[in-house]
Symmetry: C3
Amino acid sequence: MADPRFFAVAGPFSLKELAEICGAEIGGGADPAMTVADVAPLDRAGPTQVSFLDNKRYIEQFRVSAAGACIVEAKYAKQAPAGMAPLITSNPHRAYALVAQAFYPAPARRSGRHPSAVVDPSARIGEGAEIGPGVVIGAGAEIGADCRIGANAAIGDGVVVGDATEIGANVTLSHCLVGKDCQIHAGVCIGNRGFGFTLDPEGYLDVPQLGRVIIEDGVEVGANSTIDRGSGPDTVIGAGSKIDNLVQIGHNVTLGRSCVLVGQSGIAGSAKLEDHVLMGGQAGVAGHLTIGAGARISGQAGVVRDVPPGLAVAGAPAMPIKEFFRLSAIWRRQVKARGKGDE
Amino acid sequence: MADPRFFAVAGPFSLKELAEICGAEIGGGADPAMTVADVAPLDRAGPTQVSFLDNKRYIEQFRVSAAGACIVEAKYAKQAPAGMAPLITSNPHRAYALVAQAFYPAPARRSGRHPSAVVDPSARIGEGAEIGPGVVIGAGAEIGADCRIGANAAIGDGVVVGDATEIGANVTLSHCLVGKDCQIHAGVCIGNRGFGFTLDPEGYLDVPQLGRVIIEDGVEVGANSTIDRGSGPDTVIGAGSKIDNLVQIGHNVTLGRSCVLVGQSGIAGSAKLEDHVLMGGQAGVAGHLTIGAGARISGQAGVVRDVPPGLAVAGAPAMPIKEFFRLSAIWRRQVKARGKGDE
Amino acid sequence: MADPRFFAVAGPFSLKELAEICGAEIGGGADPAMTVADVAPLDRAGPTQVSFLDNKRYIEQFRVSAAGACIVEAKYAKQAPAGMAPLITSNPHRAYALVAQAFYPAPARRSGRHPSAVVDPSARIGEGAEIGPGVVIGAGAEIGADCRIGANAAIGDGVVVGDATEIGANVTLSHCLVGKDCQIHAGVCIGNRGFGFTLDPEGYLDVPQLGRVIIEDGVEVGANSTIDRGSGPDTVIGAGSKIDNLVQIGHNVTLGRSCVLVGQSGIAGSAKLEDHVLMGGQAGVAGHLTIGAGARISGQAGVVRDVPPGLAVAGAPAMPIKEFFRLSAIWRRQVKARGKGDE
């Protein structure tokens, strides 16, 4: 299904192999030896393809799908049409991710450095790493094994990149240590001078920013996002965190493990997000705040106070989301009442 | 008028030529053979320059302008000062655009590839295309005739760029098909992995993003904007759409024809904008919504429900703009009443 | 203290030298010949390091700090622990900035152009300038003395960069004149076509954008920010202004001296900010407005009317900040009352 100009499909796999890959059980007496050649959405899949049902909204598509196999929860498996082999699991989205990863593994590295790359003699490049055309790597930098550094990326002096990390094209890294298995997408800037200066009547004076950015293992940073280095302390992005495109992270910010920051959200200097915090798109957190573990910040929310662990907040200024829904309802009533008065 | 370091002026043109170029009629008995050498604003134009009046606010400037010619609606033409030749049209802004394009045509391509560019042998480069210094073009990519690819841009494997399209410096393209006559400005990232992963307690797991980005003909994308590829379906930007700087477009989003997205607006995954939708600056549309044709979303609006065709909305959460104006008036009254109570 | 992979420490300095550098007075009978080797925060500093106390919140840390010296206001100096030499000043943050700059001066330029840079023969490069790997400099461009141009930056034809200015990696400059002593961070795009086209039913038609961007002296522009050139007039950034990351500035905008724009703020076309305006993160100013000198715009505010000089505004639509606080209090009361009603 995927455009072969951009994606190379692996496989085929037997139904049995797929069941093992994703931890599912073969239902409905289907033949474990059946051959599956690709993944596809329910409405486009054919008899050699595997699809998935993750959302009750698509149950009608499921009932009439021509997919040869389908990952599905047990409770829906009976509704599978004739000829569809159910792969039964409690978490179809996760199982689908595993199956799709099997069909579309990350492309192998083109090990070695392109002749047009400019690598300082004191830099160390790990085995199997792919250094793309036009890449610049500074003095003392260390690039781990099996990394990929995309075209025209600029890696500053002393920067460390962990094994198997992928750095996109046109990325700029400086003053940072990046962990293993990270994905830093195109255009990202990490390690710039934070926005630190004295704001006094004698004129602004830059305060040297002497910290670093620490990106722990397994972090993803979306295209054109920016993460400033610390002013003295470090800016830290916790392991497994997922950062979307055009996100801004100020100096000295610390993120715990597995935070999720949706596109265009921003975090001002010295704020602390504990583990598993979720920020919606275009949301903002003011400086020096603490956002407790598992807190959820809605899109466009403007957080100006600490948020306790687990709380969901919305609005600007942000308040508990239940209160924001109540406030929105109040607004609707006020507008309606006023509209009547105007007539 | 324009700084010759950056702009080369064409011409001169006779008044008759300009009238033809912009579809205007020469008024006030002006001499069609009169020579016009440049464009200029009303307050700075001299006798060899052509200006335009597009807004009643500038009528006083018009009355005393020294411009040799001026593009103007019929109803204002009589107020032209002595010595000014009116070019009469019903749409002066459009006519001015055409005249200014004649004086300042897009610079010709410097056909050929710069020796520092790294072009995969399997890539196809169209006739007359300009491939700038440091450009990287991947395997199987196709660059159309008369394209310009700016310095240090990175064009990934298999990417297709249509004829006469302009790609700015430091742009990153991957997993995308770009149409003809597009302008992709500096720093743009198109085709990155969408923000797709399973959000479950076992840890995030990336869901392979197997779609593409389709940019139809005549699209403009502003500097440092980001457009993610689809997860399976494609992300599609409809023909003639205008996207400003620092805009974020998530995976599977589809834009109809001639949409306008102002700076820093953002669209979450799988949302659909029909034709001619206008989004103001810093506005956001949540995932999976449908925004009807011709809808207008005000700046900073937060759209969390479908918007019917033609409706104008504002506020967060977004509501019909008339209601938002009413709500703002209610707020003003409440604040005022409270202020009195506090005294 | 700072990671030597990224920062080289100068010094040591005697206490007397430090006092002169930052305009402080040595208190408590400390020995002016005492040697100081580095800066460090109060809680981590040792006997050869200098710290500072800028905020009463840290007075307890100050009282027990092992720092050999500390920059401090006179009123707190008496509370210095035994063995700490006080450096007394009325503005500790500013004094610290000066001392930190002495210990961590900007790295010297690596004068000369990297062989991989592509510099048009007609471009002029000032003495002592550092032109990094992969840099592209167009025809007629002028790079001042002692500039640094970062890796893979693209400097367009005719662009002028003033003395001692620093241009980050992967920056794109076109149609602009940049002053002296500026810092343009990685990924910034300056001088692109503004978002100018006719919005009429016959289809969008680009209006040539014939102005420039003028960046005055001492301006800082944060990573991945974008500044469009004027449509005919210029876009102007006043001297000493500080612009954070991911900020968008539209065509014809003018900023006065020493404005501060925090991350992800945006200014629409033709707006004018007078001197010393402060915009918070994610705030927006609509087109064609005038924001008076010294006005302060809160984070996420949406400014849709002129703001008089010195006024602080907040909210969307923006209102005087006192009114916004009052409105927020009204909302809290309404939500609370409603919550009771619901029980």
